[in-house]
């Protein structure tokens, strides 16, 4: 009987909430950050090859794709840090009321963009 019966639709039909969106983004940025940290290690390793290799990478970071990578990195880390702070409060037992969790979720989403702009304004374009 069990194989014949169909499985009811789940993620295909379930509507998204702020909290579920933040949760899945937290996972995705977590995985991205592992990759990014590895790349940063390679970047630092490149410094040991001297001036020319440094300039090569510097040129890459000046391209639009390079700038996009930097922006994405800053956003990914901003999101992860803010979301992690939210989770620390969860672990302490606070912020479980629907209203509170929606507000903190929105704070994480908008805060991550705000932090990204703030950090980039400070470093990249001045």
């Amino acid at each position: 009987m069990k194989d014949k019966n169909p499985l009811s639709p789940h993620i295909q039909i379930y509507s998204w909430h702020i909290s579920s969106l933040v949760s899945i983004s937290h996972r995705i940025t977590g995985i991205l950050n592992i990759i990014i940290v590895t790349l940063i290690c390679f970047w630092i390793a490149f410094l040991f090859f001297g001036n020319t290799s440094y300039e090569l990478l510097q040129k890459f970071f000046d391209t639009y794709f390079g700038k996009f990578l930097i922006t994405g990195t800053v956003w990914s880390f901003s999101f992860q840090i803010l979301s992690e702070v939210r989770h620390i409060f969860f672990d302490l037992g606070y912020g479980f009321e629907l209203k509170t969790s929606n507000i903190t979720g929105l704070l994480v989403i908008f805060g991550s963009f705000f932090l990204t702009i703030l950090i980039l304004m400070q470093n990249l374009f001045i």
Binding site: K4, P6, L7, H17, S20, D91, S101
Partner: protein, 257 residues
Amino acid sequence: MVQINLPQNSKVQKGKYYKDKTGSKNIRKVNIYRWDPSNDENPRIDTYEVDMDNCPSKVLDLLNKIKNEIDSSIAYRRSCAHGVCGSCAMNMDGKNGLACTKPHKEIKGDINIYPLPHLKVQKDLIGDLSTLYRQYESVEPWLKNSKKNDDKENLQSIEDRSKLDGLYECIMCACCSTSCPSYWWNGDKYLGPAVLLQAYRWIIDSRDEERKERLKKVADELKLYRCHTIMNCTNACPKGLNPAKAIASIKKMLATS
């Protein structure tokens, strides 16, 4: 395991279209998930045009109207119609809830009705909850007390009793558990919000003498810690309870004991 796509036999197809026969000007389209166990066809979505001028306010009334007046073959569970029994839990407009307490006015556009997510469908809107009931049994949801005072009341202080508020109201409708992505992917091992809320209800009961054993039993990587605070459970609960908080309380008790 995470399995985003539905299995081949569960892919939903377009079904029949039931045109309105009353000639009403106030029509709404209702899309309902249908699956008939008596043949080998895939599930389908049937669309019904319903005269809303002569329909009471809740989604369950809408379903009753369709069953009585348009298509009597449609199957769903219902009993009390007052949000107490939890039978009519289903997915409406992408969100789990009780059909008897959900006003159809709150739904914009066409009304989409599915069974509770990620369950084996028995027929139409009826899902198989036997796994969840087995898990419920596994937390031994009854009072364990060695005192033999059968002729006296087992009293609790007002403070101790208030700890059960927000827990005892649970009607086990399974709206929360079937809204939880963690429960979708690991439903065979992870207990899910409904059962964990019940587990906490007995852990925190001052009259129960087996708190330690109960905590020990539930402290498991898969049984408890698959909860990643996605909060779909709290968003779904038709009784306004907070399973996410109950699970966090269990985790906190384990971390501090």
